[in-house]
Amino acid sequence: MNSAATTLFDAAELKTRFAGKAELLRRIIKIFDEQTPQLLGRLRHAVRRGDAAAVEWTAHTLKGSLGQLGAHTTAELAAQLEQAARTSAPGRSEVLLKDLEAQAAQLQRMLKDLANSPDL
């Protein structure tokens, strides 16, 4: 794992928070893996058509999931997108969404690896 990836998500922290609950963590990761592409698709669509309420709401949901999985850096990006929608900053939303998509894709891979790891 490179240093950029390490800052996205702290596997040790997550394992500690789910100590003794590996199966539950696997299920939560599976839900994240299923919902993230849907939420990002909705966000992309909402940003394109300038639907600030939909951007705000969807970013809020994604922020909640990211926070629950200890992905604090990416959760902060989602929070910024939520805020940008609230303050009508469409140009900023485009930039933030691009970063969010990139980080989320990386996170999905990392969390999948964790879920498949025998020592979880």
Partner: protein, 129 residues
């Protein structure tokens, strides 16, 4: 043996709903689920849970408004409501309490303390299986 305490969880994010449900079910509680405030109010009125865990941010009617409605209804006013919120901001606790919530639990959910945090608000005669 007494029936397990019934807890209604009103939460729109499937990830948080699954997490809260699993933790409380494993602890022996019977769980009812709603993903909107409107459905939560409907279930509270018809099934009279022993406790309601209410997300404050919900699509459409929010959890604060739903709590106010439940607390102004003679059929549901006695049911303790615990607010669940991601907004760890000053003032949120007051807002939830002003609406009638008994307490306030912040997200992200801590799997190590969540059950204890919630179960202490159940009426004492009710417990887990």
């Amino acid at each position: 043996m007494a029936a397990p305490a019934k807890i209604l969880i009103v939460e729109d994010n499937p990830l948080n709903l699954e997490l809260a449900t699993d933790l409380l079910e494993v602890a022996g509680y019977a769980i009812l689920q709603a993903t909107t405030a409107e459905r939560g109010i409907q279930l509270a009125r018809s099934l009279l849970p022993d406790l309601i865990l209410m997300d404050t941010s919900l699509p459409g009617m929010d959890g604060v408004e739903a709590t106010k409605i439940l607390k102004s209804d003679a059929a549901t006013e006695h049911i303790p409501v615990v607010s669940l919120t991601a907004n760890a901001m000053k003032g949120d606790e007051e807002t939830a309490r002003a609406a009638g919530a008994l307490a306030y639990v912040t997200k992200p959910i801590d799997t190590r303390t969540f059950v204890k945090d919630i179960s202490r608000f159940l009426p004492t005669a009710k417990s887990s299986r």
